[in-house]
């Protein structure tokens, strides 16, 4: 073709530039999030056998454990027979740092702790882990957020911070 420059409308040109910039920003943020911050789709990093999880290991006796003063870990087991979380009531002192470990004994569940950034996909065979510090008193309900069967709506519990 000729070496003349193609005519592009100024508004269209601006629109294209914005589109390219958005693409570049997203590509960089996906790279940083995936490779450097380690935000990845669930991968088999913390494997656990769902057949024996309820019989031995920390999930056989789920609940709040005080590792050291003010520093807790909380094991929660989700099951579909019956549909519930173990435990359903947890009480922690205000200011406590709690590391959540959640897993499923059977099918895929969800775990969402209201008013916090804790929101897991709970997969059988894998542990979901996150740490949160409770700075304010109150009741923090948690619910199953992934449809797991006819008793899905019965899966809920509450963490009381006092």
């Amino acid at each position: 073709m000729s070496s003349e420059k193609m005519h592009i409308d100024p508004y269209e040109k601006k629109f294209m530039v914005i589109g390219i910039v958005v693409l570049v920003v997203f590509a960089i943020s996906i790279t940083v999030a995936g490779f450097m911050l380690g935000i990845q789709v669930p991968s088999p990093s913390q494997l656990i056998d769902p057949n024996t999880v309820a019989d031995s290991g920390p999930y056989a006796d789920p609940g709040l454990k005080e590792l050291s003063p003010g520093n807790y870990e909380l094991y929660i087991l989700a099951t579909a027979s019956p549909w519930r979380f173990y435990p359903e009531e947890v009480s922690v002192p205000v200011g406590a740092t709690v590391t959540f470990h959640v897993t499923s004994a059977d099918v895929q569940h969800g775990f969402k702790l209201q008013d916090t950034n804790i929101n897991f996909m709970v997969l059988p065979g894998q542990q979901s882990t996150l740490t949160y510090t409770f700075e304010e008193t109150g009741e923090y309900p948690y619910v199953c957020t992934e449809y797991c069967g006819v008793g899905h709506q019965n899966m809920y519990g509450v963490i009381t911070v006092e």
Binding site: T31, F35, M36, P58, E66, L67, S68, P69, E73
Partner: protein, 243 residues
Amino acid sequence: MSEKKTFKFSWLHLFYAFIALVVVSVVSFAVFQPVKVLPRISLAPGYAFLNQNNESRTSEDYRGKLTLYNFTYANCDGDCPDTTEKMQEIRGEIEKSAPAGIDYALVTVTLDPERDTPEKLGLFAAPYLSTDNSTVSWDFITGAPLRVRYMVGGGFNLFYERDPSEESEGQASSDQESDYEIKFFPLFVLVDGWGIIRAEYPTANLTVEEVLDDINYLTVEINNSEGAAGLAYEAAHLFRCYP
């Protein structure tokens, strides 16, 4: 149409080529992971305790050494998950086949500091320490109960408690305060010379090969920590190139 395109060199082309080369090499490094490192999990806790010979042992004494920790207590028997025999096996294997030129150390931490005095740990440690002439140092350490709680629970995230069922039984019998069991899950922790936790093994059936593999990853990283090779290993940390 018939006009032939001629390529004219410009510095801008060279700049684009350079950018493309950087992007391709970074992405291929992240995807193919030519260098593998153990993750830097978290800082190991600091402490100042006593060993089985009543000598001071602090976390600073293990700077510059690859240190393997395990956790048990002297009255641990029956179905208690005692891992001390496994430590002895690993100690012999480190002596035989671990890379030379690196200092290694083993540390056994008591979970029952109320009863485990340095003297009692000395009796507990004697059969393990006397059977071989290994040069790898092995300390059995104890301290104030609250300090042990901060170190083991807060630093290594290992929960332990007196068995509640045993305790209620004990109150009925005569010797309640001296006879109880401690409940815990077995755990080994590998700490590097900078005092960073690099591997955790929450199992009683740790294989010696598994530990030696991880020790090899660490020694290779230590031996390549200078200059350009060091940068490659830092990049491997950045891109989470874990085995």
